[in-house]
Every structure is written in structure tokens, then in C-alpha cells.
């Protein structure tokens, strides 16, 4: 397909004159970097919480990008990243069969036990 729009990047400014390679060379889009899901553990937090996603070429870059994008305001002290394609999820169309059956099983909640008064924090 013929490319009608020349995309210039700031750092490439003026390079066309000097014969440097055009970033849009070959007229096709460069492959996008893969997507990664980011999990951050805050200082008080016990578990890593999903905070968002980002693009990166590899795991190392994903961790650094996560540091730069998601921990700028002291949000965390530990970062996990996992490539999004390795996340397997339930299908929303199956929600009814997966989750609704738990609706009428009140006996699964531990609310039928009498606890001694001396037990606190439960």
C-alpha cells in the first residue's frame, strides 16, 4: 500500500536532507512491541495489584517502563510484569454458568458458627 503520510520524529528532524534512513522506510508499519501487564506492590501492601499495561520490547524494558510509568509518585516497592498474551481469562459469555450457581449457596459462608466473645479481629 502506498504510504501518504510521512511520520517524522523530533530526533529525526532534518535528517532526510543528510540521507539518513527514514523511519518509515520500506513503506510498512514496524511491528509494535508486545503488550505487558503490570502489577505493583505498595509499601503497605501484601500483594501485587494490577495497575495497567504498557508496551516494551522485552521483560527488562517492561520493568523499567513500569518503573517510569507507574511508580513516579512512590506507588510501589516491587514490580511484576507479565506479557499479556500469557494471561488466560474467563469468557464473559460464560459468566452465568460460572458465577451464578454460587448465588444461592449461603451455607458456604462461615456465618453459621457461634464464636466465643473472647475471639476478636474476625
Amino acid at each position: 500500500m502506498k504510504q501518504y503520510i510521512n511520520k517524522y520524529y523530533y530526533g529525526d528532524y532534518g535528517e532526510a536532507k543528510n540521507g539518513a534512513a527514514d523511519i518509515t522506510a520500506n513503506g510498512h508499519h514496524k511491528h509494535e512491541w508486545p503488550l505487558w501487564e503490570v502489577f505493583i506492590r505498595s509499601k503497605q501492601g501484601l500483594d501485587h495489584k494490577h495497575v495497567g499495561s504498557l508496551h516494551a520490547a522485552d521483560a527488562q524494558m517492561a520493568i523499567e517502563n513500569a518503573r517510569d510509568v507507574y511508580t513516579r509518585r512512590m506507588e510501589g516497592i516491587s514490580i511484576w510484569v507479565v506479557e499479556s498474551k500469557y494471561i488466560h481469562a474467563t469468557n464473559p459469555d460464560e459468566a452465568a454458568s460460572l458465577y451464578d450457581p454460587a448465588n444461592d449457596k449461603a451455607y458456604r459462608h462461615p456465618t453459621f458458627y457461634d464464636l466465643p466473645d473472647s475471639l476478636t479481629h474476625i
Binding site: 520524529y9 523530533y10 530526533g11 529525526d12 535528517e15 539518513a20 534512513a21 522506510a25 512491541w33 504498557l54 508496551h55 516494551a56 520490547a57 527488562q60 524494558m61 523499567e64 517502563n65 518503573r67 517510569d68 510509568v69 513516579r72
Partner: protein
């Protein structure tokens, strides 16, 4: 007399450190909104802010020693080109991404080894600023060295670009570790910084499958106020507002 001479070289040295960080930060900040991808745009902008933060600390301390109404703003915005003491490599144009990350790598490696020594300086305030900055610089070094490796050991085009950057920047690297008189204030062993710098660069270039250039002739002059034509343009843009509207606040 002795004391005032010492004071002059201390402020000279502080201004040198501050100017390095300010001009480097300004150059990196030019990428803000123009980074190759969103995440790297944020990364380089973060680094720019780190540099400007370091500059502020050094300027504030210098202003206090200098007295006579100097402030961090007057030192950054109201000194002319010949009074700036930054290394030439800081003021060079960004070029492409390869030149920007390679320049940051060369500069961060120098800062890293310098600040490691400065953090033990007999001047507690200088030592404190160096120790605080060292944490930031350690990350800049890690981030930029990985980019150098990625580009050198990447595609044919990325390799071509980092090779061009290496050619363009190399003659400006010698000035980093070649001391001028006022740098004695740092109490740093510059010869060991040179050795450490060269070793580090050699290892990273090797990992990037690039070979170390010959030492060759090195540019110098920035540390004593003799600059390239590029600094004037930076200052024109950076200082315009304060000079046109003195004391402007918003």
C-alpha cells in the same frame, strides 16, 4: 585571601556541576512529547527532571556561598554563555534517539563514578547532594546502557544509527574526565575516574557488539566557558522569559 580563593573555586566547581546537569536536563526535556513511544517519552522526561533537580540543588548551594542576592534562578537564567561551565557534550544537539541515549550513557557513566567519590567529600553539603543524585544517576546509567546495547545489537538500521552517534560524540568524551583547576574542590581522583569510565564504556560497547574507538583528539573548553555554537541557542530559549520579564512568576 586563601579563604576567598577557595570560595571562588568551590562556587566554580558547584556551577560546573549545576550547569552540566541543567544543560543535560534541558536537552533531554526536548524529547518531552516527542519520544519514540509513550513509555520512553515518560522515561526520558523523568530523567530530564532528575537532572534539573540535581542542577537546582547545586545552584542553591552555590547561590548561598556567593551571596550578594544570587539565587538558583539568577544563576540559571541570568548568566551568559561564557559563564557556563558545562562540558561540551551536554550542549550538543539531541540528534536522533541513538545519539541521545549514547550521550546520556557517556555522561551518566561519568557522573556515576564522579558522584561515588563526591559523596565522601569533606564538604558535607556537596557530599549530600552527590549521594542523593547518585541514586538517580545509577538508574540513568542502567537505562541508557541498555539502550546502547539494544541499538548496537539490534537491527541493521539501529546499529547504523548508534555507529553514527559514536562517531559524532566520541571526540567530546575526553573533556568529561580531563580536569581543570577548580575540579580539585571535588577531592576526586580523576585518573581513576578516567580508567573506570573507559573500562565501563568498553564493556558496554562490547556487549553492544561495537568496538571501542581510538582515543584520538578530544574537544575541550566547555568547563572554562569556551562553548560550541549550540549553547547560545539553548540559553536564548531557556532564558528568554526571565530576561524579557524579569522576576516573572506564574
Amino acid at each position: 585571601m586563601q579563604a576567598s580563593t577557595n570560595l571562588i573555586s568551590t562556587t566554580d566547581f558547584l556551577l560546573h556541576l549545576a550547569d552540566n546537569a541543567l544543560i543535560m536536563g534541558h536537552r533531554n526535556s526536548e524529547w518531552c512529547g516527542h519520544g519514540p513511544v509513550l513509555e520512553q517519552d515518560i522515561a526520558i522526561s523523568n530523567i530530564a527532571l532528575d537532572c534539573i533537580g540535581q542542577a537546582r540543588n547545586f545552584y542553591q548551594y552555590a547561590a548561598r556561598l556567593m551571596g550578594e542576592g544570587h539565587t538558583e534562578d539568577s544563576l540559571a537564567y541570568l548568566r551568559d554563555e561564557r559563564a557556563f561551565r558545562n562540558c561540551l557534550i551536554c550542549e550538543l544537539p539531541n540528534g536522533d534517539w541513538a545519539q541521545t541515549v549514547l550521550r546520556l550513557y557517556f555522561f551518566s557513566t561519568y557522573q556515576y563514578f564522579l558522584f561515588q567519590q563526591l559523596q565522601h567529600n569533606s564538604d558535607a553539603e556537596l557530599a549530600g547532594i552527590a549521594a542523593k543524585s547518585l541514586k538517580e544517576v545509577t538508574y540513568h546509567l542502567r537505562w541508557s546502557s541498555e539502550w546502547v546495547i539494544r541499538l548496537g545489537d539490534g537491527t541493521e538500521e539501529s546499529r547504523q544509527r548508534i555507529l553514527q552517534a559514536l562517531d559524532a560524540l566520541w571526540p567530546y568524551t575526553g573533556e568529561l574526565y580531563t580536569p581543570v583547576a577548580y575540579e580539585s574542590v571535588g577531592e576526586a581522583d580523576m585518573a581513576s575516574i578516567q580508567t573506570a569510565w573507559l573500562d565501563h564504556v568498553k564493556a558496554v560497547l562490547e556487549e553492544a557488539t561495537l568496538s571501542m574507538p581510538d582515543m584520538g583528539w578530544m574537544q575541550q573548553g566547555g568547563k572554562t566557558g569556551i562553548h560550541t555554537e549550540h549553547l547560545g541557542y539553548i540559553l536564548a530559549e531557556m532564558q528568554f522569559l526571565q530576561r524579557a520579564y524579569p522576576g516573572a512568576e506564574w
